[in-house]
């Protein structure tokens, strides 16, 4: 029997989301939370339920470098894809590199159309929240 991930990956994309957005939405790698008491986890959030988009980004830091990442998202497929992309991209990055990621780059990487620009901003905001905490409390 095929797994849920396989079923989801194989599903057609009748709504014409970008190829990458669709793949990340369907598979959502690194979705979820770290187990409680995982050391070195910094959590940043952005968005509001009223705006139909909330992104929660959890990065595990060891010696100033991201060693693992998780994300959770409530929102449209594009905002979920943004969370998945950032969580994957962040691995191995240090604070300065994390701080340099912009919504513009997210839009280019994921081919996010104009009417979804707010999803890229959501990603940038969540990452900035993490970076601000990392600067306060270096791990």
């Amino acid at each position: 029997m095929e797994t849920l991930a396989e079923t989801q990956a194989a599903a057609a994309n009748p709504f014409n989301y970008g190829t990458q957005i669709w793949a990340l939405f369907r598979l959502a790698p690194r979705a979820g939370r770290f187990p409680p008491a995982t050391p070195g986890v910094v959590l940043g959030k952005a968005g509001t339920p009223a705006a139909h988009s909330v992104l929660s980004l959890a990065l595990q830091i060891d010696d100033g470098e991201v060693v693992d990442a998780r994300f959770q998202a409530y929102g449209c497929p594009t905002s979920i894809a943004v969370g998945a992309w950032i969580a994957d991209w962040a691995i191995g990055k240090r604070v300065a590199e994390l701080a340099a990621l912009t919504a513009t780059r997210l839009r280019n990487e994921l081919e996010i159309p104009d009417e979804r620009a707010h999803c890229a901003l959501l990603g940038e905001d969540a990452l900035r929240a993490v970076v601000a905490l990392m600067k306060q409390e270096p791990l």
């Binding site: 079923t7 979705a31 449209c76």
Partner: protein
């Protein structure tokens, strides 16, 4: 792909397709039904037979059926035509319409247009199940009320209005009653011999007929009079000019004849599927049924199940069910589009209205498809909730 969107449109019934074919072939019955020669008479006979078939399903006379391009045109013709005939607002003459907030967009938009011409419109707020009571309608009536327009069955939630109880009370008061029955024909019993509706809109493609054809029932006794909105050759007793699309008309007639013959079986089949899906989802936490529950106190059309899902965003919910064709209360392509105005009119909050799906069932839907959809909905709901930072089980 599993198709559960029969309230949006139905596939053509195979028997309807066969009935239409002779009228589409180049060497077939192509003549203008208004022509006075042999082929024209044959085309006209087919049109008149179809008129009788449409009339029979609703307990009307054939001469009370006016062909249109669909229910949108029928609704426009009924509202604008009736008011224009009775006299539009002018100095010293006010005109008032009563309708409901949950009507189809084509009734609401027509009412808004009439408002720009000076007509006053009352948009009644239904109860939480989408029902507008006859008492509510009567309470909204003023000495200037010319017409009441209410749909028999709501397209999004399947709520059934008590037209049989409302109609005689409006007749007593000399107020015209227009009913949009696009979703009702073939789904609920309609007998206009005993229910004094004046005008009623019908659609071909909601009932396994072709798209692009509809009808307006215009009562003859007492005569409901309309000013035409399409001027021309005076077809359709002067109410709707334009050469009739014989093949479409024949298709709608065949579809309505089948709907009349198969009424009990159709209703049993689709209401069984609707209940089967609900039985397979009702135990999930945070799943709400929108509209009436189908009990004796809350009548429900047989073909619609509308559900809201807590803890998930509507667009992702719909996208996660990419291989199921259902209607969604969520925005389609724009970040600013509003959730369903029908669910909002029922008092549902925006978030729940956004995360809603309308499943609608038809003649070709199978139980195993409904079972598959139930599994998919359960899987995807769980997946999206696990993904959500907001969901608290």
């Amino acid at each position: 792909m599993i198709y559960l969107d029969y309230a949006a449109t139905t596939p053509l019934d195979e028997r309807v397709f066969e009935a239409m074919l002779p009228f589409l072939k180049p060497d077939g019955l192509h003549a203008n039904p208004a022509s006075s020669h042999g082929p024209g008479f044959r085309a006209r006979a087919a049109v008149e037979r179809a008129r009788g078939e449409v009339a029979a399903l609703i307990g009307a006379e054939a001469s009370e059926i006016v062909w249109t391009s669909g229910a949108t045109e029928s609704n426009n013709l009924a509202l604008k035509g009736a008011l224009e005939f009775r006299g539009m607002p002018a100095a010293g003459r006010a005109v008032h319409i009563v309708t409901a907030r949950t009507e189809h967009k084509c009734v609401l938009d027509t009412c808004r247009h009439l408002e720009t011409l000076g007509v006053r419109v009352t948009y009644l707020k239904p109860d939480r199940n989408g029902v507008v009571t006859p008492e509510q309608v009567l309470a909204a009536i003023t000495p200037d009320t010319a017409l009441v327009s209410l749909m028999w069955v709501n397209n999004e939630i399947g709520a059934v209005q008590d037209i049989a109880r409302l109609a005689p009370q409006l007749r007593e008061r000399g107020i015209l009653l227009h009913v949009d029955a696009a979703q009702a024909a073939g789904k609920v019993k309609i007998d206009l011999r005993s229910v004094p509706v004046d005008l009623m809109s019908l659609s071909g493609h909601k009932l396994y007929g072709p798209k692009g054809v509809g009808a307006l029932f215009v009562r003859r006794k007492p005569r409901a009079r309309l000013a035409p909105q399409m001027h021309g050759g005076g077809h359709e007793q002067g109410m709707r000019s334009g050469t009739l699309a014989t093949h479409q008309v024949v298709g709608m007639g065949a579809a309505f004849a089948i709907a009349a013959a198969d009424f009990e079986a159709d209703v049993a089949h689709i209401s069984g599927l609707r209940d089967a899906l609900w039985q397979r989802l009702r135990d999930l936490p945070g799943v709400h049924r929108n509209g009436p529950d189908g009990s004796a106190e809350q009548p429900l059309a047989p073909h619609v199940l509308n559900l809201s899902f807590e803890g998930v965003e509507g667009e992702s919910l719909r996208a996660s069910l990419a291989d199921v064709a259902v209607s969604s209360g969520s925005a389609c392509s724009s970040a600013t589009a509003e959730p369903s105005y029908v669910l909002r009119a029922l008092g549902h909050d925006d978030e729940l209205a956004n995360a809603s799906l309308r499943f609608s069932f038809g003649r070709r839907t199978r139980l195993d498809e409904v079972e598959q959809v139930a599994v998919k909905v359960r899987q995807q709901l769980q997946w999206l909730r696990e993904l959500s930072p907001l969901w608290k089980p």
